[in-house]
């Protein structure tokens, strides 16, 4: 059963030391933010800094999540796949912080202003759309939901992450005022991650891997 449907593999939900390490590490940006907040180190414009940091970490975790499959292909380390769900949920966690900052500290829950912003500004709309794309993925991330949806449909649904990463980048490009260096770097990373997934590249990656040192089989 688990060989056919690896995402139903009970062991995928088991505790491992690696998972614990990643779990704690992924909280470091939040901890640093809180620390900086208490030490007057978030700069003059606190709300803007929180928005920027949380937005960037959302994007980074999306990219890290999307890097799991290429990483497995390139290293042959299949255990890394077990980190994927947690990393994806962290992307959603930082997206929630980012979105809440906007709703609360930026708009003060003024629904008229919120609707106006959504209607008038494409980068806000695309950011919001990205959040809406991530929402069903987070909601169906539990073991129970995986089972209920069934492997095929669940997998199909979770392919939305490819779209979400794209719209997240569009959001970043559209909010940038003049200096496109940073969004371009993220674009390069995302494009490379997509290219590494191309089936056409698979034989090439396998050949490359066998020429380098033998794959680790940890995890």
């Amino acid at each position: 059963m688990s060989a056919l449907l690896p995402w139903l593999d009970e062991t995928a939900h088991m505790y491992t030391p690696l998972k614990a390490i990643v779990f704690i590490t992924a909280l470091v940006p939040l901890a640093l933010g809180i620390w900086d907040g208490f030490h007057d180190a978030l700069g003059a414009n606190l709300v803007e800094e929180i928005t920027f940091r949380s937005g960037r970490w959302t994007l980074r975790f999306l990219l890290i999540t999307l890097a799991i499959t290429p990483l497995r292909k390139c290293t042959g380390w299949s255990g890394v796949v077990r980190l994927r769900r947690m990393l994806g949920l962290y992307a959603f966690f930082y997206a929630c912080l980012h979105f809440t900052t906007w709703l609360w500290l930026e708009q003060f829950f003024s629904w008229a202003d919120i609707l106006e912003d959504l209607g008038k500004r494409r980068y806000i709309l695309v950011g919001f759309g990205t959040f809406l794309l991530l929402l069903p993925l987070a909601l169906t991330s539990t073991h129970g939901m995986q089972k209920r949806l069934g492997g095929g449909r669940w997998k199909q649904l979770h392919q939305l992450i490819y779209l979400a990463a794209g719209t997240a980048l569009l959001h970043f490009f559209w909010l940038t005022k003049a200096d496109y260096r940073d969004p371009l770097i993220y674009l390069c990373v995302l494009t490379s991650l997509y290219i590494l997934r191309l089936p056409a590249l698979e034989p090439w990656i396998t050949r490359l891997r066998s020429r380098l040192k033998p794959p680790t089989t940890r995890g």
Binding site: G43, E48, L105, D113, D117, R121, A178
Partner: protein, 303 residues
């Protein structure tokens, strides 16, 4: 007026922010006359009627949160990189429609005795604001010396172009050098200031040392920094952000809550140090002084 010229102020004379604030409190309460003698004379200026009594933004925030793309596009970059800029010697080229064009040394332009303090609100186009105690000279006083002719309908300014010391200029994020301009009546308005200091000290480099414009009723990007050229022109001069994004940034750029920036609303602003926003006032709260400059103009069109 006892505020000294930047060059004449020694480090030992520089007043800590805390004393500066105390001094202001004394003055505001009108009870500090006797105590003022104990405070460095360079700061004992009378409050201008144009000054606001709102709470000052912290010096730390004024000097660490800057839009000065010549030193990088993030807010922290100018505070980090601007130290490398050398501002001595500094001269300013005056040209165009005036009777006394030429190359003027900074010390000849700004007479120490004329320097006064103005506490102004500064509203950035990015919907944040500060309250800054500037030291400077009303620009009208300075411009008059060059005897602009009847052809002078606008004044154009340019920032220093020195990529070796201004790393942001090595990349073409903006068409360098930075340019700004004012209509003649705006430039001559008593609120318009040429600033050489803030918080009683010479301007920090990241705030536009050694000499910058301060036009408090316009978005911050109009208040051009580190000026090396003043030119009197007959037609409206090109301005940097207007060249960069004509539908985002107009020539006038008067603070106007009724005209949104395409990327954000201008109805509210965040005063630096606050969490929540406050309403933005027309002309940044200086409507009484300047609204008459624009009678008959459609400010939605001339944003």
């Amino acid at each position: 007026m006892l505020i000294k010229n930047p060059e004449q102020i020694r480090a030992s004379e520089i007043t800590p922010e805390a004393i500066y604030l105390d001094r202001r409190r004394f003055i505001q309460r009108g009870i500090g006359t006797a105590l003022l003698t104990a405070i460095p004379a360079s700061l004992a200026s009378a409050a201008s009627r144009y000054s606001t009594t709102e709470e000052l933004t912290r010096l730390k925030d004024i000097t660490r949160y800057n839009n000065f793309y010549e030193f990088g596009t993030s807010k922290g970059s100018p505070g980090i990189h601007a130290g490398a800029l050398s501002t001595h010697p500094w001269s300013i080229t005056v040209s165009g429609a005036c009777e006394h064009p030429g190359n003027y040394d900074l010390a000849d332009l700004i007479k120490a005795a004329e320097v006064e303090e103005r506490i102004y609100r500064l509203r950035c186009v990015e919907a944040w604001s500060m309250v800054i105690p500037w030291q400077g000279v009303p620009m009208g006083k300075i411009l008059k010396r060059f005897a602009p002719t009847s052809k002078a309908r606008y004044v154009a300014f340019r920032t220093l172009l020195r990529p070796a010391e201004m790393p942001g200029q090595r990349r073409d994020i903006l068409p360098w050098p930075y340019r700004e301009g004012l209509r003649m009546d705006e430039a001559m308005h008593p609120l318009t200031l040429i600033a050489t200091g803030l918080y009683g000290k010479p301007l920090p480099n990241q705030n536009g040392a050694p000499i910058r414009l301060v036009v408090p009723w316009k978005y911050g990007f109009k208040s051009i920094k580190s000026i090396v050229s003043i030119e009197f022109t007959e037609s409206e001069p090109p301005t940097t952000w207007n060249l960069q994004g004509p539908d985002h940034y107009g020539f006038y750029a008067n603070v106007n809550p009724a005209v949104d920036h395409p990327r954000w609303s201008q109805k509210k602003e965040r005063r630096i140090g606050d969490i929540f926003k406050r309403p933005t006032l027309p002309f940044n709260g200086y409507a009484k002084e300047v609204a008459s400059l624009y009678t008959g103009m459609d400010l939605r069109k001339h944003y």
